[in-house]
């Protein structure tokens, strides 16, 4: 099947990725899922984690935050609050962000602040995870 999927990863700050790919894996709220072309239309929430992309047999990875993914037969649209390409992750920065977020969680926060900080924490953890997994 020579068909491809049009993958778009979009964050409020930028369009991180837009290309035709062969396969996408994404962190759905009910578990990791792999998407091939001609997938049945699906809308899912995604959690912070790793998006894998296969294009021309080459794998590449993105760390993403919470968001949504819309899947139709020929395209995948990922809406998320954060997306960083695996190679661009700055481990030190992510680690710092993680520590900062963890420290803030210890303080007394309102519900909204807690939600914000937890999201930031999940984002940095996702970055670290992706980075460490693909270092080898």
């Amino acid at each position: 099947m020579a068909q491809t999927l049009k993958l778009e990863i979009v964050t409020p700050a930028a369009k991180t990725y837009s290309d035709d790919v062969e396969m996408v894996t994404l962190p759905g709220i009910e578990g990791e899922m792999g998407i091939f072309p001609m997938h049945v239309p699906l809308l899912t929430q995604i959690v912070a984690g790793e998006v894998g992309v296969r294009k021309d047999g080459q794998e590449s990875f993105f760390a993403v935050g919470d968001g949504f993914a819309e899947i139709t037969g020929d395209h995948v649209a990922i809406l998320t609050d954060m997306a960083v390409r695996g190679d661009d992750i700055d481990e030190r920065k992510a680690e710092e962000a993680r520590q900062r977020a963890e420290a803030r969680l210890q303080e007394k926060l309102t519900d909204e602040e807690t939600a914000l900080v937890s999201a930031a924490l999940a984002d940095s953890l996702a970055q670290l995870k992706v980075k460490r997994r693909h270092r080898r």
């Binding site: 964050t11 369009k15 759905g28 139709t72």
Partner: protein, 292 residues
Amino acid sequence: MPSTRDLRRRIKSIKNTSQITKAMQMVAASKMRKAQQAALAGRPYAKLMNSVLAEVTFHAGDFTHPLMEVREVKKRGVIVISTDKGLCGALNSNLMREAAKFDKNTTSHITAGRKASQFVARTKRQLSAEFTYKDAPLFSEAQAISKFAQDLFLNGEVDHVDVLFTNFISTLNQKPEARPLLPVGEIKAIEAGVEGEGHGTELLRGATEFLFEPGAEQVLGALLPHYLNFQVYQFLLEAKASEHSARMVAMKNATDNAKQLIKDLTLEYNKLRQANITKELLEITSAAMAMG
């Protein structure tokens, strides 16, 4: 006829003013660049979000969400997004002219930005809440506004919420626009300044099957508030981009006008100076002749 000293003073004061407007123009220009970038960067996300939501509401079938409930409109809410400061040309007065079109008796206002609150207070309209937002709008600020509007809507205090903001079209062109926010229904109407090519999802309108994971209810429950928050955020960004663009243009005009004034006044001053010198010379020579 003003004296040379008066003219000199005026020229000096106009020069000072033009220095200030020039500085403001520079500041606005640099802020404008940032704000425009932010507004433009948010557009693809807003657009994709719109098309996703349009798709979803189309496929969700019978399922409805409290935020999508269409009621008879007895009370309206309107979120007015203005600037904090003036000196940005006709931006705010254009916006307020639109705001004045809402029925005074049935509309309650949620304001963002100081100018909007002043307008509401001055015209004795109903004010539900006042919000502020910074030069670089934060998502949390938008969230607070949107949350408040959602609560009003869900409590039944208002039956319809519009957002009135200045849409950023280009540096020279900004347009005040009212966009419906709640109930979430006619998604097509809600496009935060998004133009251009479609997304290709229209092709799937015919598809019968559409899965939701974990379920339509949960997904919509999470998506709708997020959609609204983001929508408000994008409106704030657009308003900011408009503000700085308008201010830069206004200040550029002010600087140009000041320069022209200085030129005219300098000419007049020189003429007057010359006339005075000639007059003095005449006096001296005629005095000398009378003596001689």
